[in-house]
Subunit: 369 residues, 2 copies
């Protein structure tokens, strides 16, 4: 049978057929019709964070990590000093790309099963006044832990530090309000909780800092200030845009709004997460995080402590039943991950739980009921 | 009527429905099926340049310009000195991105209506031994002129200089043979003459220089050496790939092979170009380049020397008849451009010629026949 499998991954994820059908047309990147799509997507992205007063949004070709790198390159002066609040793999990646581009980067490391601490941040900012910017990963996809964006933003504002937020996995699902939460840059991508296809990111930049960002980037491709100035002047992208990806995102945002926007999406994902965690817990699988720290985006489970467990076999058996799981990303503990996001609901999550039950039986990890 | 317009542009271009239909499925980027698509695309890209012995190919997220920047960042040492052979807008862009990333860049400038000269290159290499790398744009899309890749490569080889080729607009249509033409890096993209959709580029890197490229890039996202090492180890892309764009490219390459590969594609584009130039010349429109310099990729025409001509009106009237033209990119002369590439043939080109005839009549530039 050629039925599509369901992606229980942190993106690329399962999208609606309607979103994919939007890609059955070719667009001229210079044409007015495409310029209008770009403008409309930008407007509706700003709607989602109530950002029209305070921010602009700049789309960028490439994966989400490209947009994180672009945000750092554009926002942080060459002699800036970035403090990364590190509780996982994506934090480490942000620190690495900051160092590679020649900006000073420090990291304050927290346990992977705990959110980062605004109090510890405050102590660091007091201790080292050379820090100019803070990088926070909103939902650290390595584990699925939700970090305290509002509290971190408040500390940064109080100390007059810039804040760069990687909201890749949370944007669209977890509430972010630019009217009450101050950030210099906030990054997300097309193929995550907005349920578009992968291929572009976008960065919200605070208007108050925008002019100062001119000339900071040492990369032409990643210069969001240049991209923004050109886009404002011409309506176009500086370099060939991923036209099909953008129109798919536009269609995905339309469905996002129809569904009821962020609160509705959060409710659906929370329900997915509940079905998943409840179902797998009943099978003896233990989530890595305490429930109160778990964002309903991606759940890390401890691998079964059973000699018959092998991730590759587990994965293959789940795939044969129609579901793509995701490997763990922790070095100390053996885990696997299951995404709660994408164009799926309780029905699909329950089917996934049933499939995992069968898989555990097949592998001889739990007894056949 | 909702019939799709035909893109007579240098990409994004008109693709087949079959290519677009490949995007109606979501792929897990970690999954074996997607890993196989990536591997298969890489193999078939190497086939096109007979590059299996001498080169690897590294795909990269983003537009073609991202891959040009990545090629320079990966191949040129930080203390390298790049000479750009400049006869157009894309050459100037290559020089700019090289300078921005902190590499020394010089340019030798040629007239925009002439190919770059291997003899002049030779003189420059003799004069300035500090030059380590040469950048050549194979087909300069600003005008459509074809530059002498083989002769430039021979000079670079003789002087022991690295050669980086931007073959964005030529790859797949103009013959490039890695067995006889030595280049360190050659860059192209999905949405050009392979007739995929835009969203990713790819760079051929010469195996002999590959190990020396480790650690040269100051950008994590654009580090092609790192991307290559990771891909060889895992089969996966380092960061989220544009899954739908890649499967569309895979499907487009299948059709490319079915059509008869590069010779067949060149023949079709040459026929498109002949129909276009013949038809528009008969209407009094004059090509900017001498015929022997014209690549059958994109043709620059002088704007009609008539007071009633206005590009915006010309464009809108052609669009109303189903064809998207492209603006000129020359500063000294008023021009417009028409692409010959994409999933179109003589029928569409003749329809385009007929449409332009009507447009010129409507604007009062030529008499109604």
């Amino acid at each position: 049978m050629d039925r599509d499998r369901i992606l229980l991954t942190p993106g690329p994820l399962t999208t609606t057929l309607r979103t994919k059908l939007a890609m059955l047309k070719d667009w001229g990147s210079w044409d007015g019709d495409f310029i209008a799509v770009t403008a409309n997507v930008r407007t509706r992205l700003l709607d989602i964070v109530n950002g029209h007063e305070s921010h602009v949004v700049v789309p960028l070709q490439g994966s989400g990590t490209f947009s994180v790198e672009a945000a750092v390159a554009t926002v942080v002066p060459r002699d800036g000093h970035v403090l990364v609040l590190d509780n996982g793999a994506y934090c480490k990646r942000a620190a690495k790309l900051t160092q590679m581009m020649g900006r000073r980067a420090s990291a304050v490391t927290f346990a992977e099963d705990e959110p980062v601490s605004p109090t510890v941040l405050e102590a660091h900012l007091k201790e080292d006044p050379s820090i100019t910017h803070v990088v926070l990963i909103h939902c650290e996809t390595g584990t699925g832990v939700l970090n305290p964006l509002e509290a971190v933003a408040a500390v940064c504002q109080r100390f007059g530090k810039g804040l760069i937020v990687d909201a890749m996995s949370s944007f669209g699902a977890i509430a972010i309000d630019a009217r009450t939460t101050r950030f210099d840059a906030l990054v997300a991508a097309s193929g995550k909780c907005l349920e578009g296809v992968p291929g572009m990111g976008f960065v919200f930049l605070r208007k108050a800092i925008l002019d100062g960002c001119a000339g900071r980037s040492q990369s032409l491709a990643m210069d969001l200030h240049d991209q923004h100035v050109y886009m404002e002047k011409t309506g176009q992208w500086r370099f060939t845009p991923p036209t099909h990806v953008l129109v798919a995102l536009s269609e995905a945002i339309t469905q996002f709004v129809e569904e009821g926007g962020q609160p509705a999406r959060l409710a659906r994902y929370a329900d997915n997460c509940k079905t998943l965690v409840g179902g797998l817990s009943a099978l003896g699988l233990k989530p890595f995080l305490k429930p109160e720290l778990q964002a309903p985006i991606i759940v890390t489970f401890h691998a079964p402590a059973h000699p018959a467990y092998d991730f590759k076999r587990f994965y293959a058996a789940a795939k044969a039943r129609g579901f793509l799981l995701y490997p763990g990303k922790l070095t100390q503990v053996e885990t696997f991950r299951v995404g709660c996001i994408g164009a799926i609901g309780r029905t699909e999550m329950q089917q996934a739980v049933n499939a995992v039950a069968e898989v555990l039986q097949e592998l001889g990890i739990i007894a056949v009921r």
